[in-house]
Symmetry: C2
Subunit: 175 residues, 2 copies
């Protein structure tokens, strides 16, 4: 397995592909983390939620961190970490364009099923669901990709792989 | 789809099953999030990492939040959120038993391939990898499970599902 640092462009490509991430916010040095669905567009992440702790905290402290990944197997994965700032897109004339953009981006993916929102969605009770639109301005993003190299790729299909890995694990942990 | 709050026992069962989570820590109100692998044992999460930002931050502010989930599809998922405190298990006589326990728990799952550690693992260079063992004391955990109900279960295999969902989405977002 080889690990590569992703360039900014590669991070952006991964975020364009990915939909599910985990957002961390914090208040009084207590971190909090929730799964979110997002759409990446022009160096910003767009999403929505219902009102709750995450929204309350981000209104007070807009600094957030988002992690998104795709894990094919232990030797093949991509992980992107975003540092950014929360900005709410209120339901006022001033934010009309941004809200329409958010709506369009999210509709493309039919992302209304966000786990964080789901408790507020019941069949026939859609009116109870009031989405809060927001976007994350990305200040910095970093990423890593793991790829099986030729040796490891051969090992992946080899039955003698397991004792070999176990022996490596032993060396790693018995220190 | 129906959403259920999980009991403490159900949260513990989910954490016993799950291995991959995302850990959030924070420093000076800046949250940071990374994927981790863990083993749940007696109301504590055991893991290890190589030295880096996450370890530095948790040494200064031990308060962490961990999220772990299993997402089968949009109507069937479980998500558990843990609030807890970081405790390092140093390589000294005092912590020998805890380190052996951590080692055994992690070895069962061969979790040496943690993405956060992977950059330090190169074939033939295992000696460069110095694991830092730690555990998270769980102060509080909450969880949710989504299950398709009978109506939604029928909808899952129905082609008319898509326009129906789109129409619901429209109602939800056009507010």
């Amino acid at each position: 397995m080889r690990i590569f640092e992703l360039t900014n462009k590669e991070c952006a490509e991964a975020l364009t592909r990915l939909r599910l991430g985990r957002l961390a916010c914090s208040r009084n040095e207590q971190p909090y983390i929730v799964p979110i669905y997002f759409a990446f567009h022009e160096r910003q992440l767009y999403s929505f939620a219902t009102h709750g702790q995450k929204i309350d905290w981000m209104r007070i402290n807009p600094r957030v961190c988002i992690e998104a990944d795709e894990i094919v197997n232990r030797d093949e994965w991509t992980s992107v970490i975003v540092h950014g700032r929360y900005e709410e897109l209120p339901d006022t004339l001033e934010w009309k364009l941004e809200r329409e953009l958010t709506h369009d981006l999210l509709q493309q993916e039919a992302m209304w099923w966000e786990p964080a929102c789901a408790s507020n969605i019941h069949p026939g009770a859609a009116d109870e669901f009031i989405p809060i639109y927001y976007r994350i301005h990305i200040d910095r993003m970093t990423g890593r990709r793991a790829m099986p190299d030729s040796i490891d790729a051969a090992r992946l299909v080899s039955p003698q792989d397991v004792p070999e890995r176990k022996s490596l694990l032993k060396r790693l942990l018995h220190r």
